[in-house]
């Protein structure tokens, strides 16, 4: 059984940097990020878009990278958890998740933080209901979500300079 595998060049902006990577037509974004680009902060919890651990931002919108054909991001901007901190300086959401105790096993954390970032990027002071709606695609099995909501509010306050 021999088959010719056709490779394609995928070019996109990844965490602010122009990136080109050779992929196959049926590659999913999550596998390109994790296996080709070695950005393992994006987690694979279910592979079918249910758990939200693989959430990344595509042009600022949270998407399940496990459901997304990699070619769909051609020419677009992708943000992963690795793109949030500026060197040693954490994003306010990262700081707040730590301070609020919103992190236990940490497996949902990257996706949770990115979903929260998409919310705070366009909503300065979200209500509890808005936070719940924004994070409803991200399952956390450890924390019962209470400290996650506290963390998002804390981050909103930090971003608003209060």
């Amino acid at each position: 059984m021999t088959q010719t595998i056709i490779k394609y060049d995928l070019s996109f902006t990844l965490n602010g940097e122009t990136t080109t990577v050779e992929i196959e037509a049926d590659d999913r974004l999550i596998d390109v990020l994790r296996d080709r680009l070695l950005l393992t902060g994006t987690k694979k919890g279910c592979g079918e878009g249910e758990c939200g651990t693989c959430t990344v931002l595509l042009n600022g919108i949270p998407v399940n990278s496990c459901l997304l054909p990699a070619m769909k991001v051609h020419g677009k901007a992708v943000t992963t958890i690795e793109g949030l901190a500026r060197g040693e300086v954490l994003h306010p959401l990262q700081e707040s998740f730590l301070e609020a105790g919103a992190v236990q096993c940490g497996f949902c954390t990257p996706g949770m933080i990115l979903s929260a970032k998409a919310l705070l990027d366009h909503k300065k002071n979200p209500t509890d209901e808005e936070i719940k709606l924004a994070l409803s695609g991200n399952i956390c099995r450890c924390t019962g979500y209470v400290q996650i909501i506290e963390a998002v509010k804390l981050a909103a306050a930090k971003l608003n300079g209060s």
Binding site: K43, T53, G101, Q104, G106, G144
Partner: protein
């Protein structure tokens, strides 16, 4: 009250939190080794079938495939916990749909998957049995030839004279309850990387809760000596009891790696997690409760039929816990339990947060409300009247050195009764009610005369930083943070100066594992004792350097000072340097193997077996939509006797998380089979609690300062889940007057109970 401690009780950031928020924590699937292959496992489509023929030749010939494994390639050693009935891969027959039959290692997962399709297996299907009740029938097909009647394990435990006590009761009540299979549901799928080192030793990377138990079980399966294996534990993405014990894939992948001569990685996919993980033991529990008319509970009997699945993992132990622990919640005069754990042709069951104690608490704590209502008594007062108290020795010989059960009940009861929403709204469509349930649990569990301890090594480094070595896993609950805090507090150094080392059985001290809510209590005590020893060494040395007797010295904020003259001080870092890089050659190291002062249970299961016993009461307010039967949890007041809260925000996290899982178990989660065929194969049709469903929670800490635990601390991991289901069932009855004795309590169940004239049969 002012906090007398420098570290304990303070808002310390989890020590491994930073890398987690940066996406840099390394979980198993984030690890790649040079030359590493990827494995996939072929699983049986049949629930019960003879294996006639396996042909792997086409798979082996596929380019990129490096090794194929079937049962005939494996040593035939039996392994498993109490009832070792498991083989690495079956050769004769398969006993559940999803059982491992063959495995392939290839250069990519894709090729490994393709290779699985090329393996042909001829099966001869056998009659299968899916429910314990049918498996117990005389004409039922036998699942294991050497297990007559399909009984994996049975217990009969009686204390006092049950029949005599029952005869003198004013009232005798009887009810039956059932609880389903549910998944621990950790988000990180389980897996392993196996690699044979050039010296012939086996390295296993796996996010497992009990590394040393894994080492001995893998050794047993492979027929090699435990010290030939090293277990390296990366970050663990949740576990909840589901990752305590090894799975078949651990030895399978080890053998594939040996055959291929290269490292092999295997990570379950989510569908496999549903098909072949280890769900909670489903059980039917019949309770007989004898009471006096004043509300005194005199005696209790239980008959339990529990579903083991096709092989025995922790289910025998889970069933034992189910059979005993609630006997010690109240001051019964007599108890009797007869339980039977039964093989079925379904996925093996095992432990999940609560480890059997949750199942029997659902039964008993529902029962108490049912009976109290029948007697016209307040269920909370009945509980308080009968509650076990500090100083008691229970029917099973447990010595209650600390017990805050009464205080938990009072505080949770008061908190949930306060600020209630209206009992009825929207013309009576929405009805609201409150309910309470309490629980007891353990912090460690000595089986027989076995070790139930934990070890720790604490070592100062030349720069004054402290390395803590430990063999207990951190699955996210914060064990590493607790260890760092206890060491820092005991040694008077900042928590930032403590490094908790990675878990590797080659280096880490011998420990039993992160289960039984034992890690803070027993593991933390080992850190405490080792830190004390190192402190003694450090003060001796400082005494020499400062020319004062060491008993006049103390350590605070990283400096050793003279108690009567605090300005005369030396920095810990300087002392360490002069000890390690000098002819003084002091080790500044202590290794402590600690075993708690309990005697363990005898062959009749009598005896004090846990370092500490934990107590909790949770009050719940629910809202029932009487048009649909849907139940919404509005508020929870959770009072927990944690001994002492070493990390209060961490305890809050345990409380919230346990409530979320307990609410899921009570209302949403259920592994559904239809005539043996698994229907819940995906998170699409298995509902875990989302952020929308989480109620408002008021955590209440009851601090009883246990005399044995480190700084008085006890465990809290499992207790947070245990009272949820019965408290919800009790609140539903308070709201709408219907009683549901099965979990999950679905909208259909409530609707059918509200409108019996509609003759609705809820889907089971």
């Amino acid at each position: 009250m002012e906090n007398e401690y420098a570290v304990l009780g303070r808002p310390i950031t989890f020590v491994d939190g930073l890398k987690k928020v940066k996406g840099q924590a390394r979980y198993l699937d984030d690890i790649s080794l040079p030359g590493m292959l990827h494995a996939r496992i072929l699983r049986s489509p049949h629930a019960h079938a003879r294996i006639v023929k396996i042909d792997t030749s086409k798979a082996a010939a596929l380019p990129g495939v490096k090794a194929v494994l079937t049962g005939k390639d494996c040593p035939g050693n039996r392994f498993g916990c109490d009832v070792p009935d498991t083989f690495i891969l079956p050769t004769e027959k398969v006993r559940y749909a999803g059982e491992e039959v063959a495995a392939v290692a290839a250069v990519s997962s894709k090729i490994a998957r393709q290779a699985l399709d090329l393996i042909t297996i001829e099966y001869d299907p056998l009659p299968a049995v899916f429910e314990p009740e049918t498996a117990l029938k005389a004409d039922a097909p036998l699942i294991h030839a050497d297990k007559p009647g399909n009984v994996a394990k049975s217990y009969r435990i009686e204390r006092g004279n049950f029949a005599r006590e029952l005869a003198r009761c004013d009232h005798v009540f009887e009810e039956e309850f059932s609880t389903p299979r549910v998944l621990p549901g950790y988000l990180e799928p389980f897996g392993v990387i196996a690699l044979w080192e050039p010296d012939g030793r086996l390295s296993i990377h796996s996010g497992i809760q009990a590394a040393f138990q894994a080492r001995s079980e893998i050794a047993k399966a492979l027929g090699i000596s435990p010290s030939r294996i090293s277990i390296k534990v990366p970050a663990i993405g949740g576990a909840f009891g589901g990752k305590i014990w090894i799975r078949n894939f651990h030895p399978i992948i080890a053998l594939l790696a040996k055959k291929a001569g290269r490292p092999v990685k295997y990570v379950m996919n989510r569908q496999e997690e549903f098909m072949a993980s280890r769900p909670r033991v489903a059980a039917r529990v019949k309770v007989i409760l004898g009471m006096m008319k004043d509300g005194s509970m005199v005696c209790k009997a239980m008959q339990i039929v529990a579903d083991n699945g096709a092989y025995s993992w922790a289910a025998p132990k889970v069933t034992l816990n189910m059979s005993m622990r609630t006997d010690c919640l109240y001051r019964f005069k007599a108890t009797r339990t007869e339980s039977c754990l039964v093989y079925t042709n379904k996925t093996p069951t095992s432990g999940f947060r609560g480890y059997g104690n949750s199942q029997s608490h659902f039964a008993l704590e529902s029962m108490i409300d049912i009976c109290s209502r029948k007697l016209g008594l307040d269920p909370l007062q009945v509980r308080l009247k009968n509650a076990s108290r500090q100083g008691d020795t229970t029917l099973h010989g447990w010595k209650l050195r600390s017990c805050g059960l009464g205080e938990c009940l009072e505080k949770a009861g008061a908190a949930i009764a306060k600020d209630r929403r209206p009992k009825s709204e929207n013309g009576g469509r929405f009805k609201r009610g409150i309910g309470i349930a309490c629980m007891n649990h353990v912090s460690g569990n000595r089986a027989g005369n076995n070790f139930d301890g934990s070890s720790s090594m604490v070592r100062f480094q030349e720069d004054g930083k402290l390395a803590v070595y430990h063999g207990e896993s951190d699955m996210g609950q914060g064990a590493r943070t607790i260890f760092a805090m206890i060491a820092a507090e005991t040694l008077g150094i900042p928590v930032e100066d403590v490094i908790v080392m990675p878990l590797d059985t080659d280096v880490s001290p011998f420990c039993f594992g992160s289960y039984s809510s034992r890690v803070t209590t027993v593991g933390g005590k080992a850190v405490y004792l080792a830190s004390l020893k190192v402190k003694e060494q450090l003060l001796d040395l400082a005494g020499n350097l400062m020319d004062v007797p060491p008993e006049l010295l103390e350590i605070k904020n990283g400096s050793v000072f003279i108690k009567s003259d605090p300005d005369r001080k030396l920095p810990v870092a300087g002392i360490c340097q002069s000890a390690i890089r000098s002819k003084a050659t002091k080790a500044l190291t202590a290794y402590v193997a600690y075993d708690p002062p309990t005697q363990g249970a005898d062959e009749n299961f009598y005896g004090d077996y846990s370092s500490a016993y934990t107590y909790a009461a949770q009050g719940v307010e629910v809202e029932v939509d009487t048009q649909t039967g849907q139940v919404r949890i509005l508020r929870v007041a959770a009072a927990h006797d944690v001994g002492r809260a070493i990390h209060p925000n961490g305890v809050r996290g345990q409380v919230f998380g346990g409530i979320a899982q307990g609410a899921g178990w009570a209302l949403y989660e259920n592994i559904v089979y239809d005539n043996g065929e698994l229907k819940t194969t995906s998170l699409r049709n298995y509902n875990m609690l989302t952020i929308h469903d989480m109620p408002t929670v008021t955590p209440i800490f009851v601090e009883t300062h246990d005399p044995v635990g480190p700084y008085g601390a006890k465990g809290v991991g499992e207790p947070t889940l245990i009272p949820m289901a019965p408290a919800i069932a009790n609140a539903i009855e308070d709201a709408v007057g219907v009683r549901i004795n099965k979990l999950p309590i679905t909208a259909e169940d409530v609707f059918a109970a509200l409108y019996p004239e509609c003759h609705i049969t809820p889907v089971r």
